[in-house]
């Protein structure tokens, strides 16, 4: 059993935070295998640094920060897709033709299409419930940029969802 400086149990930290870390990676990278690999690596990094972790809350903070940064670096390395500005998010018509009516799933798909920085900020805000200041500190980003990304992303998501709703209503008539 690995214990940190404060007598922290690594296995407990792993059990308590694995879903958080995996979810962030999965929703950011949109690749299950890649997300699992990155999530594992982040826990291994934590294992190496366990002596510097002061509490379970500190471990959670550390893991969030590590996976966020690793995800952004990984996306940059992979160049998953060409850089898409918020004004050019592709039309979702193909998704609605796939007939997935569940709101949550549609929202997740829309979040997946956001540009990298915007996607990470939205995930940290609405998946991890961090406030803009915490997100700014975590991502080393100016708070005005965080707020700007949140504001614009919500407008994009709302707009795209509304368009999908209009299209669905027309198709279902």
């Amino acid at each position: 059993m690995a214990l940190g400086f404060a007598g922290l149990n690594f296995e407990k930290i792993l059990a308590d935070n694995q879903s958080l870390v995996f979810s962030l990676a999965l929703r950011f990278l949109r690749d299950r295998e890649g997300a699992e690999e990155l999530a594992q690596e982040v826990f291994l990094q934590l294992y190496e640094k366990l002596r510097k972790i002061e509490s379970p809350a500190h471990a959670t903070w550390w893991l969030r920060r590590a996976i966020s940064h690793r995800c952004i670096d990984e996306a940059r390395k992979r160049r998953l897709r060409p850089r898409i500005g918020l004004e050019a998010v592709p039309e979702p018509l193909a998704q609605t033709r796939d007939a997935d009516p569940l709101l949550s799933r549609r929202l997740r798909k829309l979040v997946e299409k956001l540009p990298d920085n915007a996607r990470m900020v939205v995930l940290l805000r609405y998946q991890e419930d961090l406030d803009p200041m915490e997100i700014a500190e975590m991502l080393n980003m100016p708070i005005s940029t965080v707020k700007s990304l949140l504001h614009r992303s919500l407008a994009v998501l709302r707009g795209k969802l509304e368009k999908q709703e209009i299209y669905r209503k027309q198709v279902c008539r």
Partner: protein, 180 residues
């Protein structure tokens, strides 16, 4: 004597254009739970415009001649957290500039105003929006040389649905002021 008076009036008007301190609006947000404060002018605005145009050339006509962009947007937990009187200095300043108030809507406890500085050929030298609601207040103040059709062209950008009303209403020669 008349010439001297005219010269003084012009000088005062020119001076007035430079004297509003948007920091005075910051007290509006003293109790805000969420706030957005943007002040872009001078070199900083030029930097922003250059970068924006590099990403999206279609925005060039909208942003190329901007001189100042000021936004104060505050959201509150409950009503009564800001004083409408704190907006009066801005309203008074806009009045000294003799901008035209083209929208003045009062609905329940909400006040919505749009002021413009009209220029020839469907252009605007400035746009000010003051939207005061019980739990939210938004102030936007933009100066420069912009056209109403360029503002409408923002539609489709930023993921926000297309909007033509400002352009269409001006084209039809209508003022967007509702009957009271």
């Amino acid at each position: 004597m008349k010439k001297a008076f005219l010269f003084l009036a012009i000088a005062l008007a020119a001076f007035a254009q430079q004297t509003f301190d948007f920091k005075t609006l910051d007290k509006l947000g003293a109790k805000a739970k969420e706030s957005t404060n943007i002040t872009l002018e001078g070199d900083t605005l030029k930097l922003a415009v250059n970068f924006l145009e590099a990403d999206n050339a279609s925005l060039k006509p909208v942003v190329d001649n901007l001189k100042g962009v000021y936004v104060r947007s505050y959201e509150f937990d409950k009503e009564g957290q800001y004083a409408d009187a704190d907006l009066e200095p801005l309203r008074a300043y806009i009045n000294t500039l003799q901008w035209t108030k083209i929208v003045d809507v009062k609905e329940d406890k909400e006040t919505s105003e749009i002021y413009v500085k009209p220029l020839p050929n469907n252009r605007l030298g400035g746009l000010a929006i003051i939207d005061a609601e019980p739990k939210e207040v938004n102030v936007i103040y933009i100066t420069g040389d912009l056209s109403t059709s360029d503002l409408a062209k923002l539609g489709g950008n930023f993921g926000i649905p297309d909007m033509k009303f400002l352009h269409d209403d001006k084209k039809a020669g209508k003022k967007s002021t509702p009957a009271r």
